[in-house]
Amino acid sequence: MLGPEGPHVTIEGFDGPLDLLLELVEDKKLDILTVKLGDLADAYLARVRALDALPADEVSAFLALASRLVLLKARSLLPSLLPLDEMDESESEEELRARLLEYAVVRERATALGDRLRSGERGFHREGGTPELPPRGGEVLALAAAWTKVLALASRPREEGIVAPGERYSVEERTAEIEAIVAEREQVTFTELLSTEPTLGWAVVTFIALLDLYRRSVIDLEQSELFADILIRRRQAA
């Protein structure tokens, strides 16, 4: 038994008066349906007597059943002495038998359940495992397309010496170029600025030039959302 069973006391292996009575029936290999329950009175009393330290709240239940069994026994021995209406008041043998039968079924079921539990053959459900719910529904073809795109981007003619783009492109020249473009068109996108020479070095130089122009308040930069194209706008004279 795991955990406290608290105030419920199991007396010498008996879970209650009915349990003890059923035990007697089974011990004596009697059939609940045919046995005269009153005949068990002596054996029942003997077993109750043998139980030491009966807890107070259980005693009455044991004794109530014992007295009922004694009554049933007395009635079978001296049927004429007991008026009929009095018998109706007490629990009849048939009622007790029905209760015992019901209890026998419960105990059989409890045993069957206990056997199942002991066999360890149980089911397990899935806990789910991903409480934050990872994203789903990704388009694998979109992923492949993105890969294709970056491959195309990466395989474009590259400037020699990716490490030192400044040697090939002049930030000053590029700044002047961009200044001329916005002076003429008012606004241009970053993508457009890159399209003339789509290399990494060119992009870096263009970006630095833009930062410089922004710092000098020549242009305003706008980006509607992260990774959206950058819009370069000529700043209006104050």
């Binding site: 069973e5 009915l18 209890y103 419960v106 105990r107 409890a110 359940l113 199942r116 539990l117 397990f124």
Partner: protein, 182 residues
């Protein structure tokens, strides 16, 4: 060959972290409840001889592992075996076969006070409250849980082991339900 609907239901039950009702299944797979019933029956059959089972408690459905592989799953999860005292098992048996049942009914059958065993079973989540009976005193009704089905390796209450002894009808307790199930 399984139907697409059965597979859709399977996918949903697989990701579900709790039992899914028939109505909810119908909604998410875009089918009628009747079609879902067929899909569930189809799945249930196809899980025979596999490591999975389709379990249900009323109209709620859940995928669980097959009881015969419990030892391996327990080894993986490091799960302890559940122990229940004989006294608690009796109370559990009464609740399981007669549910919903009140404490008074359980005590009438067992002939002893069942406060503690009911408390213990509630703590282990093998039984739970199921509202109250519309009767004097409005006594609490108890029924078994999903945990109960899982712990005992049952796919549904229909699989409760049957008793061999014929069951008596106790006056005042109404018809027992256990052995009249299909």
């Amino acid at each position: 060959m399984r139907s697409g609907l059965a597979n859709a239901v399977e996918s949903v039950l697989f990701v579900a972290e709790k039992p899914v009702s028939r109505a909810e299944l119908a909604r998410v797979v875009g089918a009628t409840p009747k079609q879902v019933d067929n899909a569930l029956a189809e799945l249930s059959t196809s899980y025979q001889g596999t490591g999975l089972r389709l379990a249900h408690d009323g109209d709620d459905w859940q995928l669980v592992t097959a009881p015969e592989h419990a030892a391996h799953v327990a080894a993986y999860l490091g799960a302890d075996r559940l122990r229940v005292s004989p006294a608690s098992l009796e109370t559990l048996a009464i609740v399981a076969y007669r549910q919903p049942a009140t404490r008074a009914e359980v005590e009438a059958i067992r002939g002893v006070n069942c406060d503690q065993t009911i408390y213990t079973l509630m703590q282990r989540r093998l039984i739970e409250e199921r509202g109250r009976r519309e009767a004097p005193g409005r006594p609490i009704l108890y029924g078994t849980t999903w945990e109960f089905l899982e712990c005992f390796g049952l796919s549904s209450l229909d699989e409760l082991p049957r008793a061999l002894t014929p069951e008596g009808v106790i006056p005042g307790l109404g018809e027992p339900v256990g052995d009249t199930r299909a």
